[in-house]
Amino acid sequence: MGVTLEHDEVHGAEQGLATAEVSGEASISSRRTFFVTAAAAMVIGGAKDAQAQSVSRTGRRARRKLPEPVRGVSLALASAAAPPDAQLAVWRDPVGRLLRRANFGITRDELVRAKALGFSKYLEEQLRPSMIDDRDVAAFVATNYPTLRMTPEELYGADQGKVSNEIQEATIYRAAFSKRQLYERMVEFWSDHFNIDRDKVGYLKTTDDRDVIRKHALGKFPALLKASAHSAAMMRYLDQPDSRRGNINENYAREIMELHSVGVEGGYTQQDVNELARVLTGWTVSGRGIFTYDAQIHDFGPKSVLGKTIPATAVGKGLAGKGEADAIIDSLALHPKTAHYIAIKMTKFLLQYDPTDAMVAAVEAEFTKTKGDIPSMVRVILTEQNLMVAPVKYKRPFHWAVAAVRSLGPSVTSVSLIRGLVDNMGHSLFSWETPDGYPDKMEFWSGLVLARWNAANSISSQTGATFNFNVTPFVGTTAETGAALIVDQLFGGEVTESFRTRLADFLRPAPTNTARVREAVGLALSSSQFQWY
């Protein structure tokens, strides 16, 4: 079965979104300005095209049925990857393709190791993260990010800036250095699926990341859904504590169906949302952030949700009435619509923006067969056959930044630099406001390119004590050998010939000059080719 990581090692982060901030009430602008820290000097760039945004949302909500996007003028508006058949053509190695999807960026060492293992063995290894020795990363995290282990009570008393920075930096550090790369990718996925905005819940995101997302990222979906439903952070994020008998707040009731399980086309009605909200009354938060069931505010009247009738019961105490929602959540977790919805989302995330119906059907069937076993679904998605035809995807800023770090292999004692750069690129971890999570659409992100270029330049020029990029392994004796070193390290050796030539051309005036090489590396990270995976 999947993997339920033990408490000692990993824990902590995820990816997705947030910026730091203050706790409860701080305004958005204060959040944006407060913790720019490392970023302050950097420049932000970025354009989100109209097209971009909307497609990102509508694309998710209403599945596009266009057989084949019309290629032509309005191309930039299409949701699918318009890209680079040329890019695809140069990625001939199936193991390389697997690494690009299952890792945060391809590195030469990991490519060599994966090739030695072979496609299947590598994938199987990655699907069992608890069997991968990752103690160095666990030790670093334990030492440097102590707030990740804290209880809500302890977190409440801690420095909130530190709490915020640590969850973000731990997420970045793990994504960059953990050997459990596929696991970290799934943490990224679920962090968006079960999005929580730190601006609203503050330190509680730290507990959700640890006890929900990271605990079940490669486990069973029903357990994950149930854990999320018992998360104080999620309760607070979706206003569940405000919901009580006679005065319901439907926010969580709606989202657990619309976003977490059956999907917006899951066949429920507004009446179902209202009724489920009644069923969920009593699910709340106490103390500094402990999930609690409070029978005193539960609605014991008769209810009907998704065709299922719940008779009235006598007003009770203790856990009386809680089982009503438990039963609904259990049935949502394994609902056929959930199988479909999760299959689509996972396939889109791991494989391609517009998967075929057949691909999704296979994943959906696996969900049904294995009762939502996440590794089993991943196995059906990341097949060699699928990977060899999947169009490329565009790295989101977090993905891009982590890939850059992995490619360069710096000596690192702090990733605060990267946190600031990710903020600058518009992808502040755990800061996406609405419960749908950061979009995974090329058009949403592709306008923020200047910030990305400046981040590339920043990373490749680091020589400081806390983040040192040793450029020596990238320095060749000639422009051509130098370009080859960069191409091997950053691209698994697979680029177009014209790209290789242009990189060499840039190096040519001074191929052994380290400042020049650093700039060439920065350009390579900025190049269109490094944006795809």
């Binding site: 305004s27 204060s30 932000i44 095209d49 109209a50 990102s56 200047l450 840039f506 269109s528």
Partner: protein
């Protein structure tokens, strides 16, 4: 050409809509540039008669009753023993200034009086969201996207305005920007728009010696790839060139304007510089925070918490008015200022005010019917007149104000797209 008449049942509104449409040589050339997600729309006027818009969001829920206050209402003073602006006719050193016989503006905002007297500044009171959320999170979102409780709507009202209008300058690399860290939701959906917190610093980092060379390398790289990724990259490169030609640091405001040296003041100064540079920018969005005054509000204390924030806002607006809205300028600008909600009429136990409902908006510009405090059935702030017994009611939907600006100042008739499912009431905001 399916104009969204069906969204607009009101007779008065239809007149407005038609009038805005007249002269719009529009409609042509639309298909190729309009985002696919938009319903069919009529392109807004492309003529230079359109205003440039500057939109300012007061983040945190600004206490409208401390900015512009009903000094003749005794309920105001009894409900706010420590959080009230002294009457204009009092002897207090921090008394406000009467705007008319009923409303005064706080002393901290006195720098706005000249614009008001010039007829360029309109105050709209009791304005806000009809939806009664008191969550910052929801209220900001609802206002910025232009509709409450619609999870499918993720683009901003101003973004949709730009998406449904032809560029004021064809081929402008940049039509809109958020002077903010990250793209403000109000602008999401706008073509050719960027979040640029500091326009003076928008450029490629690294060695200045190699900058041109690296820039050229990147241009070559992105020119050779698919437009999906290439076009925005080239837009950014072109914008760099554009902004680098503007001497922000050496910018000298006209009209003797002096912007406060605050984040917001510098932002407004940059906004003026960008507008005057005449590079085709037609919308700017700025934020100013610090309005969530649950305790120690002190709006009428020299250097008090809210007094400082109001001073910053007012001085920046006043400087912008002198700099960019007066004198012989070849463009016209409309500035609109709003917040997600106001605050309770009665102060709380910590000399502050909690989240409320109606607040006040400001609209400024040469095309605005200013010099007035606009209200709709304003009543004394007695408990029985308040929403939930505690709040100034929202009697003017903020979308009424924005719709009229969009239709009449920005020349865009597509209100059904910009404010979906809403039929605005014309309030007479514009000249």
């Amino acid at each position: 050409m399916a104009q969204h008449e069906h969204d607009t049942g009101c007779e008065e509104y239809n007149t407005l809509s038609r009038r805005a449409f007249v002269g719009a040589a529009a409609g042509v050339a639309a298909a190729a540039t309009l985002p696919a997600w938009l319903p069919k729309v009529v392109l807004a006027q492309s003529a230079s008669s359109r205003d440039i818009i500057v939109s300012v969001f007061l983040r945190g829920g600004s206490d409208g009753l401390s900015m512009v206050y009903p000094f003749t209402d005794t309920n105001y003073y009894t409900g706010r023993p420590t959080v009230a602006i002294p009457r204009p006719d009092s002897n207090s050193a921090t008394r406000g200034i009467a705007l008319n016989g009923q409303f005064g503006i706080s002393a901290a905002m006195s720098s706005l009086v000249p614009a008001y007297q010039a007829g360029n500044l309109l105050v709209v009171h009791g304005a806000g969201l009809v939806d009664n959320t008191r969550s910052h999170f929801d209220a900001q979102r609802f206002i910025e996207v232009g509709k409450a409780r619609d999870a499918n709507l993720v683009t901003g009202w101003l973004g949709r305005h730009l998406a449904t209008s032809t560029p004021m300058r064809s081929n402008a690399p940049l039509r809109a920007l958020g002077l903010s860290q990250g793209m403000p939701r109000t602008l999401v959906g706008a073509p050719k728009s960027l979040p640029i917190p500091n326009p003076a610093g928008f450029g490629l980092g690294g060695s200045t010696t190699t900058r041109t060379e690296r820039s050229a390398w990147l241009r070559g790289d992105y020119e050779a790839v698919d437009t999906s990724i290439g076009a925005p990259a080239l837009d950014a490169l072109n914008t760099v060139t554009l902004l680098n030609n503007i001497n922000f640091n050496g910018y000298v405001p006209s009209g003797g304007a002096v912007y406060p040296n605050t984040g917001f003041g510098r932002g407004m100064r940059s906004a003026a510089a960008l507008i005057k540079a005449d590079i085709g920018i037609e919308a700017l969005q700025l934020d100013i925070g610090g309005w969530d005054t649950h305790s120690g509000q002190a709006p009428a204390v020299v250097n008090g918490n809210m007094a400082r924030t109001m001073t910053d806002l007012a001085q920046s607006m006043a400087a912008f008015h002198a700099d960019a809205m007066t004198g012989g300028v070849s463009y016209r600008v409309t500035l609109v200022v709003l917040s997600e909600f106001g605050r309770n009429v009665r102060e709380n136990g910590s000399q502050g005010t909690d989240h409320g409902r109606g607040s006040c908006m400001f609209v400024m510009g040469p095309g605005i019917a200013g010099g007035r405090v606009m209200t709709n059935n304003w009543v004394p702030l007695a408990r029985e007149n308040l929403e939930s017994g505690q709040d100034l009611r929202v009697t003017i939907d903020h979308r009424d104000i924005l719709s009229e600006i969009v239709a009449r100042r920005l020349g865009n008739p597509n209100l059904g797209v910009i404010f979906p499912s809403y039929v605005p009431t014309v309030r007479g905001v514009t000249l």
